[in-house]
């Protein structure tokens, strides 16, 4: 049986002209498919709205309060763990140096200064090596090699951005 245009009239739920209504009524008498479509629409409109059990708002307030307490506790525990961990790490790192520093402060200060001098020299040497490499390397690496390196860097950057987006996005619909 041809259900056009009756199926569309029922599904689109647009107002019908009197002659269309008449044609539809006549079609519904002999078509079980369109009758089912029409009945389902009526049924959907007639089912009542489900309501929650009484006291919904009070239960929400209790849930909100317990959530707030949990968040406060988590924040406090987090701050404590971070603080104690930080102090512990600091003591672990500087503990041995503190004993030496307290033993001979002048020698220790001289050692620190010489360490920084060596560090600065090393960084400068690394910079020189880097600039020389930058001048030499383009000649050694073929264009396809550069393409692979750049693609790898782009891929890793994209992966990093997607990871950041996945972990920081808000819940859907909010």
């Amino acid at each position: 049986m041809n259900h056009r245009p009756f199926e569309d009239w029922i599904l689109d739920e647009q107002p019908l002209k009197p002659e269309q209504k008449r044609d539809l009524q006549a079609h519904l008498l002999e078509c079980s498919h369109c009758t089912a479509l029409s009945e389902v629409s009526l049924e959907l409109r007639s089912v009542k709205v489900a309501a929650p059990a009484p006291g919904f708002t009070a239960r929400f307030e209790a849930r909100l309060n317990s959530q707030k307490v949990r968040e406060r506790r988590n924040r406090l525990v987090g701050a404590l763990v971070l603080g104690i961990g930080g102090v512990g790490l600091l003591i672990w790192f500087i503990g041995p140096y503190m004993a030496r520093f307290l033993g001979s402060p002048a020698g220790w200060i001289a050692a620190v200064v010489s360490f920084f001098v060596v560090l600065v020299d090393m960084l400068r040497a690394l910079g020189d090596v880097g600039s020389i490499m930058l001048r030499i390397l383009p000649g050694f690496i073929p264009p396809i090699g550069w393409m692979i390196i750049l693609s790898a860097i782009s891929g890793l950057t994209l992966l990093w951005m997607v990871s950041i987006w996945r972990f920081t996005r808000f819940a859907k619909g909010v």
Partner: protein
């Protein structure tokens, strides 16, 4: 500024009492959406509580130019869709739940015509099962359209779809429901005959 906007404004400023007023005002449409989506009172209660909790936590992100109800239903619909998708991947099925759960609409003992009421209840349960057979997003669109009287634009905003996608989903969902209704009517027909009046 109407009363609802005033509550939202106060709630955004940190007034919990104002947010409670919003919960009071919208508990029914939110619960109904969750119930029709998840098909179980306990799950619906939990989902609607979670919806209000998420709304409370992200109230600062609410755009006052949009209706508050649309924003709230959007949170509820997405939460239920996510939950249904997770449920699909677990061994727990809607059919199992319904076997254990009590009938969701208890017939009214004071109803003037118990037989008619029983048939109505059967039809509602049938519709409930048919809704459960739809894709989660189609189901959300149908519930918002028929129970919340949402326009196609509002449904599109809530579900993050285009208006034409909503029209197409509603069309497809109604067609699927109609086909199932027809099949179910055809199955019921021989069963009802023995109970009909001998005069027929």
């Amino acid at each position: 500024m109407n009363e609802e906007q005033a509550w939202v404004f106060q709630a955004q400023k940190g007034d919990d009492q104002a947010f409670t007023q919003l919960v009071e005002a919208y508990q029914k449409p939110v619960y109904n959406l969750c119930y029709r989506m998840l098909g179980e009172p306990e799950a619906a209660e939990d989902a609607s509580q979670e919806t209000f909790l998420r709304a409370y936590q992200h109230l600062g992100r609410y755009d006052a130019s949009r209706p508050f109800a649309t924003w709230l239903l959007s949170i509820a619909a997405h939460y239920c869709i996510d939950r249904l998708r997770r449920r699909r991947f677990s061994t727990f099925s809607i059919d199992d739940e319904e076997d254990d759960a009590p009938a969701f609409e208890i017939p009214d003992a004071d109803a003037p015509n118990p037989e008619r009421e029983s048939i109505r209840r059967e039809e509602r349960e049938n519709l409930h099962e048919m809704l459960a057979s739809l894709d989660a997003t189609d189901r959300a669109a149908i519930v918002m359209r028929y129970w919340n009287d949402a326009s196609e634009i509002e449904i599109a905003e809530s579900l993050g779809l285009t208006v034409s996608a909503v029209k197409s989903r509603l069309h497809r969902a109604r067609l699927a429901l109609g086909k199932r209704w027809e099949e179910s009517s055809a199955q019921k027909e021989p069963k009802r005959r023995p109970h009909e009046s001998p005069a027929f």
